[in-house]
Amino acid sequence: MPSSTAVEASLPIQSEMDLAWVRQHVRQAAAQLGFGLVAQTKLVTAASELARNTLVHGGGGRMESAAVTRGQAHGLRLVFSDEGPGIADLDRALTDGYTSGGGLGMGLGGARRLVHEFAVDSTPGSGTKVTVVCWVTPPPRPYGGL
C-alpha cells in the first residue's frame, strides 16, 4: 500500500512550529485513510491538544503515527510520548477545567472525547505516553462498557 509510508511517521515535538507540522501530518494521514471532514477535524484537534501537552507539560517529545486494522475496521493510531515529570493524579488531569499550565484545562479530557480509544500511561518522574486510536468505519463498539 503506497499510503502507508506517508501515514507512518515519527515527528519531533519541540516547538510551536512542530505543532503545526503535527497537525498537518495528522490531517493528511487521516484524509489518506478515508476519514470524513468532521472526523479529520476531530482527530487533528485531539492531536493538537495532546501535542501541546507533550510540549508544555512534558518539555517536548515525539508523536508516532501508524495505520491500524482490527478485523474489518481500519484506523489511525497516534502515540504522544515525552520524558517529562509525568502526571501525578490522572483522574484530576482528566477533569474538565483542571489545569496546571494556565490553559482552559480542557485539553486531555477534550481529546479523550474526540477519539474512539484513549489510553494514558504515565509514571511520575519518568514521562507520559498517550495513545489514541480513531476508526474510519464505525468502531466495533463493545456494548456495556468503555
Binding site: 468532521v38 487533528v44 480542557m106
Partner: protein, 299 residues
C-alpha cells in the same frame, strides 16, 4: 597511496600550492572571470568579476599557507565569506539549484589545475600529484564553504519571512461606520493571537468601533488554546466598549468544539461574515433596504 610513500609532506605541498596561488593570482582570476559562476554574477563589468575572482584566489592562498586545506573554518575564508554568500544568493535568485551552484564552484578547479600542471612540468610526477591533490582538497573545501554560507543565508531568510508573515496576516478591515473585522487565516498560535489582539484593540480605538468581527473561516483547527485566545480577545474588546462577534465557524469545527467541551456561550457567534455584519448593523439600528422597484429599472 600510503602516507610514507608520499614524495613531499602534506604541509609542504599545501605551502607550495599557496605560493603557486599567490604567484598566479592574476592569471587565475582572469581565467575564473570567464567561468559561469563569476560571469553570471558580475554581469556589469569584467573587471569587477576579475577583482572578485582575485579576492577568492588570494583567500585560498592564505588558507593553503596556514596548511588548513581541509578546514571550512580556516581564517583565510573569513574575508571572502560575505562575497561568496552574495554570489550564491545571486545564483539561487537566478534560479540555480544548490547542486548547480556546487557544480559551478567545482568548475573553477580545472583551469587552476591545468595551470599548476603547466607550471610544474619540470618536477617529478609524484611530486606534482601531491600538489594537485592538495589543490583538489582546497577547492573541495571552497565548495563546502560556498554551500555552507548559502544554507545559513536561507535559514536567515526563512526567519525574516516568518516575522513578515506575522505582520502581514492580520489586517483589520473597516466594514461600516463602527464595525471592524479581522479575517484570521492559518494557525492561531500565541504569537499570532497577541498580534491580532493588539491590532484589533488599536483599530477599535481609531475607528470608534462598536462591533468587532473575528472571522475564523481561514483557521483550520480550533483547539482549546485557540478558543482561549479568542475568548481573551473578546474580553479585551469588551473592556474597550466594543462587542465581538466570532464568525466563520464551519460545521466540522462546531461539532469539534462541542465534543471538546468548550463553552463559547459568552461569545456571540454567527455562521458567516455576512451574518455577523447583518447582526452588527441590526444592533446599530442600520438597515440595508433593496432599492424601490421603480428605481431599479431606470437607466
Amino acid at each position: 597511496m600510503p602516507e610514507h610513500q608520499a614524495a613531499v609532506s602534506e604541509g609542504t605541498s599545501a605551502r607550495q600550492v599557496a605560493e603557486f596561488l599567490y604567484r598566479h593570482s592574476e592569471r587565475i582570476a582572469q581565467r575564473w572571470a570567464d567561468e559561469p559562476l563569476f560571469r553570471s554574477v558580475f554581469t556589469v563589468s569584467r573587471d569587477e568579476a576579475v577583482e572578485a575572482a582575485r579576492a577568492v584566489a588570494e583567500a585560498l592562498a592564505r588558507v593553503a599557507e596556514s596548511e588548513r586545506v581541509h578546514d571550512t573554518d580556516a581564517t583565510g575564508f573569513v574575508v571572502v565569506r560575505e562575497q561568496l554568500a552574495r554570489m550564491a544568493a545571486a545564483r539561487s535568485r537566478a534560479g540555480a539549484s544548490m547542486a548547480q551552484v556546487s557544480g559551478e564552484v567545482e568548475a573553477l578547479r580545472p583551469p587552476v589545475a591545468s595551470l599548476l600542471v603547466e607550471e610544474c612540468a619540470d618536477l617529478p610526477a609524484d611530486e606534482v600529484r601531491e600538489y594537485a591533490t592538495a589543490l583538489t582538497v582546497l577547492m573541495g573545501t571552497l565548495r563546502l564553504v560556498v554551500l555552507d554560507t548559502a544554507l545559513s543565508e536561507g535559514q536567515a531568510l526563512i526567519e525574516r519571512q516568518q516575522l513578515q508573515l506575522l505582520e502581514v496576516a492580520t489586517p483589520v478591515i473597516r466594514l461600516w461606520d463602527g464595525v471592524v473585522a479581522v479575517p484570521l487565516i492559518g494557525t492561531l498560535d500565541s504569537a499570532r493571537s497577541q498580534v491580532v489582539m493588539e491590532t484589533l484593540l488599536e483599530a477599535i480605538v481609531e475607528q470608534h468601533a462598536r462591533f468587532a468581527i473575528l472571522d475564523i473561516t481561514g483557521v483550520p483547527t480550533v483547539d482549546s488554546l485557540v478558543a482561549q485566545h479568542l475568548m481573551k480577545t473578546v474580553a479585551a474588546a469588551r473592556l474597550m466598549g466594543a462587542e465581538c462577534v466570532v464568525s466563520g465557524i464551519r460545521p466540522a469545527i462546531a461539532q469539534t468544539i462541542v465534543h471538546l467541551g468548550l463553552d463559547l456561550g459568552t461569545v456571540v457567534t454567527r455562521a458567516s461574515l455576512a451574518d455577523a455584519l447583518a447582526y452588527a448593523l441590526h444592533e446599530l439600528g442600520v438597515g440595508i433596504v433593496a432599492p424601490a422597484s421603480g428605481g431599479a429599472g431606470a437607466r
